[in-house]
């Protein structure tokens, strides 16, 4: 069900496939905790081509590959940026395809990973394309929820921040809608609300959701709060940004009416949308979430390369 498959968007997968991936991630996590040295991907080579700067996603893929006994080659960042201007993506992908068994790509242009997958003979994993998809982040986020709450279905979710241009938030919302959440609150300023295609998808899946402007009105209902950053550049008028940014900052204070078991997640890195005073509370689950990046990517690489 995963062998040789491209991983372009979270909505290319169904819940059974994702649960299968998460079961595999459980095994990987246990092996990591027990300090086992795995060899499942010995002899395999992964290429990473990040045309947009990234530390976490790239290093977590590279670590995952090494932890499975495989190796990686990396398109150097300065090479990626000069290629972004000069040589076309198709030729670069063909080159990597001739060296590696799997290609992980991140690009600022929407559809770049889908196109790379059409060009490459080996599987392509999307590490983020433009404002569109970030499927492995969504896999990690959903897996984190499953570990923390024992299930993904039946919970009340809040997703706060830039729901329009943020690919992590978008992918998480799309990923949730594959399951049966009790309700999703979409919390954003009106300029950064979900794109219509995402809303259409929620409607098509019959997911209960509500678009709201402030966290305080819904915080007491939430089981999971997914926080993302609002970027200054998204606002043509800097005054507009100054006006809204405070209301989308999540702090100890803004959670005072929340359920005791509310989990706060964040794809990291954060800027100031997530206050440091949360870090030592039981709500802060984003460091655990970040730690699950490697086992989930191990599971995915193993399933894609060996089934």
């Amino acid at each position: 069900m995963f062998l040789n498959r491209d991983v372009i968007s979270i909505i290319d997968f169904n819940p059974q496939e994702l649960e299968r991936l998460f079961d595999e991630a459980d095994l990987m996590l246990r092996a990591l905790e027990e300090g086992k040295h795995l060899k499942a991907l010995e002899g395999y080579v992964m290429a990473t081509a990040f045309f947009e700067p990234s530390t976490r996603t790239k290093m977590s893929f590279q670590t995952a590959m090494i932890r499975l006994g495989g190796s990686y080659i990396d398109l150097p960042p300065e090479e990626a940026s000069s290629r972004a201007k000069g040589e076309n993506l198709a030729d670069t992908v063909r080159m990597l395809d001739s060296y590696a068994d799997v290609i992980v790509i991140r690009h600022r242009v929407e559809g770049a990973a889908r196109f790379a997958a059409e060009v490459a003979t080996h599987p392509v994993i999307n590490g983020g394309d433009g404002t569109r998809d970030h499927p492995t982040q969504a896999m990690i986020d959903l897996y984190t929820v499953r570990r923390l709450h024992g299930m993904i279905n039946g919970l009340v979710y809040g997703v706060i921040g830039d729901l329009r241009y943020g690919r992590a938030a978008r992918s998480f919302i799309l990923g949730l809608s594959l399951f049966k959440p009790k309700k999703i609150y979409l919390i954003s300023p009106p300029q950064l609300s979900c794109k219509r295609e995402v809303i259409d998808f929620l409607n098509a899946k019959g997911v209960k959701y509500e678009e709201v402007y402030s966290l305080s009105e819904v915080v007491s209902e939430l089981d999971v709060l997914y926080v993302t950053r609002i970027q200054r550049e998204r606002f043509p008028d800097p005054l507009e940004f100054e006006k809204v940014k405070g209301s989308y900052k999540v702090s100890f204070d803004s959670l005072k009416n929340s359920k005791e078991k509310l989990s706060v997640l964040h794809p990291l890195p954060r800027v100031d949308e997530l206050a440091y005073d949360l870090d030592n509370t039981a709500h802060a689950r984003y460091f655990e979430q970040a730690k699950l990046g490697v086992p989930v990517r191990m599971a995915l690489l193993k399933l894609v390369l060996k089934g």
């Binding site: 076309n88 993506l89 198709a90 600022r108 242009v109 929407e110 559809g111 770049a112 889908r114 196109f115 059409e118 433009g130 404002t131 569109r132 794109k195 219509r196 295609e197």
Partner: protein, 159 residues
Amino acid sequence: MEKELRVSKIAEGTVIDHIDAGRALNVLKILGLSGSEGLTIAVVMNVPSKKLGKKDIVKVEGVELREDQVSKIALIAPSATINIVKNYEVVEKVKVNVPHVIEGLLKCVNPNCITSLPREPVKTKFKVLRVRPLNLICEYCGVELNQEDVITQLTGAKA
């Protein structure tokens, strides 16, 4: 006999019938005809039609359509029928067909879409979400096109 037959028959050429009312001139644009070519062209607009309520008809003497022109006509007149006339008789009649995926005919309006990059060997690909009113979605970036966008692109004219 329907009223449209008041317009004289053509000897050799093409009759495009069941065009959405008001779009005959767009069809001529797609065929690259302005009238200055000297060909006999009959345009009938807004005549009653059982299927469409009202419809347009275009008859062109001495012209056979290319495949890409037929595909484009389908996108602005999805019910159109194309009749090939030889010696005053209809020798072939085809209904246009809107495919599920439209490749290479249209441009994506998102400048940050992979298909908008000049150097990439990639054809645009739009999935048809709905035929009436037309609604297409770019398979690469998710941007949607509506009927107006498509008419503007195919004819260079505002809908």
